[in-house]
């Protein structure tokens, strides 16, 4: 199937990563497993501080379904168990010792006992795939259109063999759909795998967009998804028995010193990356008129999670974004012509120049930061969301149904077809500055709890 997405927006965020990979797999020593990144996962600790673990050893299990667990990304010692408010488990940190991983014997099958199982996620709700469910398809995207996202095919370039082995294993579970960017030429000789082509602006690379175009989720149905890089990890584990959860991540953003790719393992500490990339090494600066401090985001600028310079890569993230904080006032900001401001609307001069780009006029140098550029208001304007939302869903009506908590209406309007990330662009362009992704996440969580109860 050839999928052409017309609705959407590519945000011209500066700091595009160069195609150069620095391997940190052998230099990073601390790795974290982060249950907070996994939707619906109630962690039960299986290890204590000081325990020795091998790569793939379960560190935490889900209280609801003990078959689901998060494994240690490397072998070593449990160095820290980090808890937050109300003793909520945030991270289990493993200090690597010796080789990256060791083979564990026995037969290897891709099932809930596999250390790779957590990499499969289920829609609706975005939880770890439930082994009892029968998904109608498994969807893998070979392109990521988020701002400054990695070129997935580039990240996978010397792991294609493992990737195909992983696809074959997934095809044994359910029909697999792989979406590749236009121009790529992936041939998979494996029954049960269909390859589609996707082109268009963001969110063309979002798995939700691709599912909606290929086979939208109806009530009662589910699909599974995984990052393409994790499929390669599955294939590698099946072939060799070595659990090496590799990720080639793109590092970029206006506040990154020299944006390029890094090759790391899941949960890797970010200290080395931060040291190399932070323009201002004295991060974090005390807030005084926004004197150039930086927000480090694990994930994309449209929906990743803010972390610290010594934080860890998020469980399902394949990029890091360095953004200047925007905590400063702007005098009469609403009245300025706005040549350096980026807006999807044409209410700033830059909006016209953006369209003039096609005629050869150089695009203005936009100044991006984390400022909200306005305060929260009720929804006034209509018809904008539809221009960046390539679903057969009425976005404004669904958001409002979520805000008032009308579950029946949410179902009727197609809540099961979306995840918060599908609304990221709506949230970005919203002149009312509503936190739409939070609204959608809370609605989905309420529905999920209702479904369990």
């Amino acid at each position: 199937m050839n999928i052409k997405i017309n609705k959407g927006l590519d945000i011209p965020l500066g700091g595009k990563p160069e195609r150069r990979v620095v391997d940190l797999r052998h230099s990073a020593t601390r790795y974290a497993v982060r249950p907070v990144d996994v939707v619906g996962f109630t962690p039960r600790l299986l290890v204590a501080e000081g325990d020795s673990v091998a790569a793939g050893t379960p560190l935490v299990a889900d209280k609801r379904d003990p078959r689901l667990f998060l494994p240690a990304p490397v072998g070593g010692k449990v160095a820290a168990i980090v808890r937050g408010e109300k003793r909520k488990l945030l991270e289990v940190v493993v200090e690597r010792s010796g080789a990256l991983s060791a083979e564990n014997g026995g037969t290897r099958r891709l099932d809930a006992d596999s250390p790779c199982w957590w990499m499969l996620r289920e829609r609706p709700f975005g939880t770890i795939a439930c082994p009892d469910h029968k998904p109608k398809g498994i969807f893998i995207s070979l392109l990521d259109t988020n701002p400054l996202a990695p070129d997935v095919l580039f990240a996978l370039r010397d792991r294609m063999h493992d990737f195909e082995a992983g696809l074959a294993a997934l095809a044994a579970l359910a029909p697999v759909h792989v979406c590749q960017p236009a121009g790529a030429d992936l041939k998979v000789n494996c029954a049960g795998v269909s390859v589609h082509t996707v082109e268009g602006p963001h969110p063309a690379g979002n798995i939700g967009t691709q599912i909606a175009a290929i086979s939208p989720i109806n009530k009662g149905e589910c699909v599974w998804t995984a990052l393409a890089q994790d499929v390669a990890t599955m294939g590698h584990w099946l072939a060799t028995g070595l659990y090496e959860p590799e990720r080639t991540v793109s590092v970029g953003g206006p506040a990154a010193r020299s944006p390029h790719y890094y090759r790391v393992l899941c949960g890797s500490s970010l200290s080395l990356v931060s040291q190399a990339q932070l323009i201002n090494p004295a991060y974090p600066q005390p807030a005084e008129g926004g004197s150039g401090h930086t927000r480090i985001v694990s994930g994309s600028a449209l929906g990743g999670s803010a972390t610290q310079a010594d934080g860890h890569l998020g469980m399902y993230d394949q990029q890091l974004t360095f953004l200047p904080e925007g905590d400063q006032y702007e005098f009469m900001g609403w009245l300025m012509p706005g040549l350096d401001k980026f807006s999807f609307s044409q209410t700033f001069l830059s909006g016209f120049l953006r369209h003039a780009e096609k005629l050869g006029v150089p695009s203005p140098a936009y100044r991006f930061n984390t400022n909200t550029h306005g305060s929260v208001r009720p929804f006034l304007f209509t018809g904008n969301f539809e221009r960046v939302f390539p679903f057969d869903i009425y976005p404004m009506q669904l958001i409002k149904a979520c805000m008032v908590g009308d579950m029946e209406l949410q179902e009727q309007l197609g809540i099961y077809e979306v995840e918060p990330e599908d609304f990221a662009l709506c949230e970005f362009i919203d002149p009312s500055k509503t936190d739409i992704q939070t609204v959608i996440r809370e609605a989905l969580e309420a529905l999920r709890k209702e479904a369990i109860a």
Binding site: S345, F348, T370, D392
Partner: protein, 381 residues
């Protein structure tokens, strides 16, 4: 521009403790001077540069050509009616002096109520009234007494908007609520078949002048030429007469994407189609009127550009916007031609469709719901 001193001044006077009940008022002025330094906390770390203030201010700028022309026309009409023969600047100055008190009264009354409601509810003050408060003086006769205007604005803001929860929650266009209030409360001032031309700069005596629609309603052909109606040097409310000035505003609204082109276009298509239908019937003079005359006369163009496109009270779905606009245009022409008691049909047509917009959206969204339910049933088989 170094505005550090103003930043510090605002931080110094921030109401705290006993005075914290003034928070909304303080916030309104503070955010007027400075875009706040709030940063994103969840979801997307980056946000678009556009906000409500920016959007509304563009709407206000789009109103300016019609307003400035209207001021000139007020003086020009008086000059013509009294045979005074003023120059263009004096004509404009005359209109400016007549319009300024109306604009001030509209803003002061409306914003006072808006601030009071925001304060009581501990909400931030919404920018929406900056546009409404300018539109109201532009769509009422220039001789409207200020106390009537003040009452109408208060009625529109309280009953038309705030009782429903403020901007974004209202279902009727507040500016049209104000005009409808005057229309039904003081019909002698607001009939629509005649307009009142100010006779002097400082007193409220008026000279009656016929509008093209008033003439048509009584079976005459309009005395103004199509060109005059296009340029707008005919009697009428300040904002509505010049189709050219309105078109300049329309271009700005469409280029910036603040107003929906679907609604604007479909209102004209609906009005034109209805006009053509009447041409086919051709029962009387009014029905034989070329269809484009309806675009030039009265408040049709102003209503289509600035009032039908109010996103809060219009249909919200793209398909719904077409239906909404087509029906506004059609009803406006229907009312004009078939109901001589109300020569101006635009106001009632838009208010009527404001009431119908939720129903249109309901039907449009329902078809999506049905499609999804059908798909689910087929998948379950």
């Amino acid at each position: 521009m170094n505005m550090k001193w103003l930043e510090q001044w605002f931080e110094k006077i921030e109401p705290k403790g006993k005075m914290s009940w003034l928070g909304s008022t303080y916030e309104a002025f503070h955010t007027f001077a400075f875009t706040p330094k709030t940063v994103t906390r969840s979801g997307s770390h980056l946000r678009d540069a556009v906000d409500m203030k920016r959007s509304i201010i563009i709407l206000v700028i789009a109103l300016l050509p019609a307003l400035l022309f209207g001021m000139w026309n007020i003086g020009y009409q008086t000059s013509t009616a009294t045979g005074a023969g003023w120059g263009w600047f004096y004509c404009w100055w005359f209109g400016f002096v007549r319009m300024l008190p109306m604009i001030v009264v509209s803003y002061v009354v409306g914003l006072f109520i808006e601030f009071a409601f925001a304060q009581v509810r501990h909400h931030e003050v919404n920018e929406g009234f900056l546009a409404t408060g300018l539109i109201i003086p532009m769509i009422v006769p220039v001789t409207t007494p200020l106390w009537q205007l003040a009452l109408a604005v208060a009625f529109a803001v309280i009953i038309g908007k705030e009782v429903f929860g403020g901007s974004g929650m209202n279902f009727l266009n507040p500016a049209l609520v104000a005009r409808a209030f005057l229309f039904f409360s003081y019909p002698t001032h607001m009939s629509g078949d005649k307009v009142w031309i100010a006779s002097g700069m400082w007193h409220n005596d008026a000279i009656a002048g016929a509008t093209p629609m008033g003439e048509l309603a009584t079976g005459m052909n309009p005395s103004a030429s199509a060109l005059s109606m296009l340029l707008g040097n005919i009697p009428g409310s300040a904002g509505e007469t010049s189709v050219v000035a309105i078109a300049i505003g329309a271009v700005l609204l469409l280029l910036t994407g603040i107003a929906s082109w679907r609604i604007m276009l479909s209102v004209f298509i609906g009005g034109g189609a209805m006009g053509l239908l009447f041409n086919l019937i051709g029962y009387n003079e009014y029905m034989q009127l070329p269809f484009y005359y309806h675009f030039l006369m009265g408040g049709f163009a102003f209503g289509a550009v600035f009032m039908a496109t109010d996103p809060v009270t219009a249909a919200q779905t793209n398909c719904g916007k077409w239906i909404y606009g087509l029906l506004i245009g059609a009803f406006a022409v229907l009312l004009r031609v078939c109901n001589p008691a109300y020569p101006e049909g635009m106001m009632l047509s838009i208010l009527f469709m404001n009431c119908m917009a939720p129903l249109i959206d309901h039907l449009v969204v329902n078809s999506n719901i049905k499609m999804r339910a059908k798909r689910g049933k087929e998948a379950a088989k």
